[in-house]
Amino acid sequence: MSIRVIADKCTGCKVCTRACPQMAISMDGKLATIALESCNFCGSCVSACKFKAITIEIEKQAREDLSAYSGVWVFGEQCDGQLAGVVPELIGAGRRLADARGSELGVVLLGENIANLAADVAKYPVDKVYVYDHAKLARYRPEPYARVLSALVRKYKPEIVLAGATTTGRSFLSRVAVDLYTGLTADCTGLEIGDDGLLYQTRPAFGGNIMATILCPYTRPQMATVRHKVMPAVLPGDTARGEIVNVPPQEQLLTSRLTITDFVRDVTQKVNIVDADVIVSGGRGMGKPENFAILQELADLIGGAVGSSRAAVDAGWMPYAHQVGQTGKTVCPKLYIACGISGAVQHLAGMQSSDCIIAINKDANAPIFQVADFGFVGDALEVVPELIKQIKAAKVAK
């Protein structure tokens, strides 16, 4: 690892001295000088220099021939024979990337009795559907799923692997990436093939206040997870397009130190907020827990789910599963209606990428109005019942 200042290009502007978090750069006359013993190779100075006068050389090489890897894979997450909502979106992104690379798009299905599902998936614009069918894969468990996907990757060598950023995807993809010693980028909002043929992965960090673009240049596959409702879905056709490849299961990959003994479906949520197109959310301004029933009524009338700020959850008014924000869930619905929510930075981190934000708050200075597309200064406890009244009246009139 080495870093140097290219004397010919350095203009003495001193911007790099400001950028360095280690304060390792000083000026020797008009030439920037880096104290190597303090430098941690973070690259801040390289980004900062407008004249490209600083370079870092990383002695990194690929450990193997990367050209042996080809194709884009989508992990076809499924439960009880139903594809997870994010999968058609991943297929859309995967198709675009495979076309850009001139390679094949495959969907990988793990589960039990998934032959029918495989036939359905083959109707999407995919080239291959890999099917790994075994009783021990009936429900997601980290060890069997990670071992199987790793083994499939080692055998078929896809260049890119995409998965949903669901509780399942986020758990076991990291195990696969570490096992394969390759890069994984979480929660991507952008995926593009660059001119260099690499996958440029863009994702939010710091609760969405910063965007970062990430590469995985020296290892394969380049892996990424994508949240539901971030990328557009594609629809299946009427006929099979993809070839089904049944992979004979290997028992030794399917052992697990974890067994699932029960599953209790959440009946309080009619619509899961992570999947919802419309969310009606309440905060401390709702006054008391009983008032969340008003929000549920509105949500039912407009096909939405109910969300909550952290304040309401901490006060015990709503279960944690409904919490939207930095330490709750991140949502991206078409419509987010914030009722009696002040709009603390931590809450915004969970919903600021919603397509449309409506806010109702008594306080005209509430920070939520800084991000709301449509702001209503008023008491949610009066406006929402009025809204419900008007919706019901319109229905009767029909």
Binding site: M1, V15, A19, N40, F41, A48, I58, P142, E143, T167, S171, S174, R175, A177, V178, Y181, G183, L184, D187, P204, F206, G207, G208, I210, M211, A212, T213, I214, L215, C216, Y218, T219, R257, L258, T259, I260, T261, F263, R265, D277, I302, Y320, Q326, T327, V345, C356, I358, F369, Q370, A372, F374, G375, F376, V377, G378, V383, E386, L387, Q390, I391
Partner: protein, 265 residues
């Protein structure tokens, strides 16, 4: 039983900005805190220790963190909150680590400590990846359970836990050694005790370097990281739009118009 908690020191506020001149994160004046999710991991570790001790199984809770020297403060804070001792993993060789290189180094510390049970927070509020905890389990060939919302039973050999999934609660039985990543719902973290504060003040926190853990330098830091950040930028700034005030009925009418355009009423 040896229990280890992995924590991360993160900025106090994630409301960070990019310096338009240097195109890097503005770091001055940003305070630090223990990653909020890690506080729940620590609390659960201490509670499990209390449960096991009550069952006659003496246990300890050691907190581990990787970072620059100032992370010592976060480790001391963890001791005030019930950890018995702490280790700081710090080495210039770790600079620029992505989640692969971080999990490699932290796993080495967990191995050196011979931990039977490891607790991690669900994710860090700066990186937001949730990858380091699961990654550690591969380096150590350890069982993994993510999104743990309750530890129903725990012995030295097995645990029964509840996981918080999108669609409901899953109950699992898992063999130790195991690593849990926990969600906020699992407990209410305690406040620092007087005893904890005194312990933290006088605690000796060793610093383990890459060499001390016999790490392969090619697998550490920027060099060992398969991913690299090529660019950071500010997202499109979202500005507030139109605003109305008036009688509830008027506001409701206007809102309904807007809703009709975007949802099925």
């Amino acid at each position: 039983m040896k229990i280890v908690v992995c924590i991360k020191q993160v900025p106090q506020s994630t409301n960070v900005k990019i310096d338009p001149v240097t195109n890097t994160l503005i770091r001055e004046g940003v305070e630090s805190q223990i990653n909020p999710f890690d506080l729940y991991a620590l609390e659960e570790a201490v509670r499990v220790k209390e449960r096991l001790t009550a069952d006659g199984e003496a246990s300890t809770v050691t907190v581990v963190s990787m970072g620059p020297p100032q992370v010592d403060a976060a480790l001391r804070e963890a001791i005030t909150l019930g950890a018995d001792d702490a280790i700081l993993l710090s080495d210039r060789a770790f600079a620029g680590s992505d989640t692969w290189a971080t999990s490699y180094a932290v796993a080495a510390a967990v191995r050196k400590l011979q931990a039977d049970l490891v607790f991690c927070g669900m994710q860090a509020i700066d990186g937001d990846t949730a990858q380091t905890g699961p990654g550690i389990t591969v380096h150590l060939d350890m069982a993994l359970v993510t999104y743990v919302r309750k530890v129903r039973e725990i012995t030295t050999k097995r645990a029964v836990v509840e996981r918080l999934l999108e669609e409901g609660i899953e109950v699992c039985e898992v063999q130790l050694p195991v690593l849990f990543t926990v969600v906020k719902e699992i407990n209410e973290p305690r406040t620092p005790s007087i005893r904890g504060k005194m312990k933290a003040k006088s605690a000796q926190i060793p610093v383990w370097t890459a060499a001390a853990m016999e790490l392969d330098p090619d697998r550490c830091g920027l060099k060992g990281s398969p991913t690299q950040v090529v660019k950071i930028f500010s997202p499109e700034h979202r500005a507030g739009g139109e605003r109305w005030d008036g009688e509830p009925a008027e506001l409701a009418t206007k809102m309904l118009e807007i809703i009709r355009e975007r949802a099925t009423v």
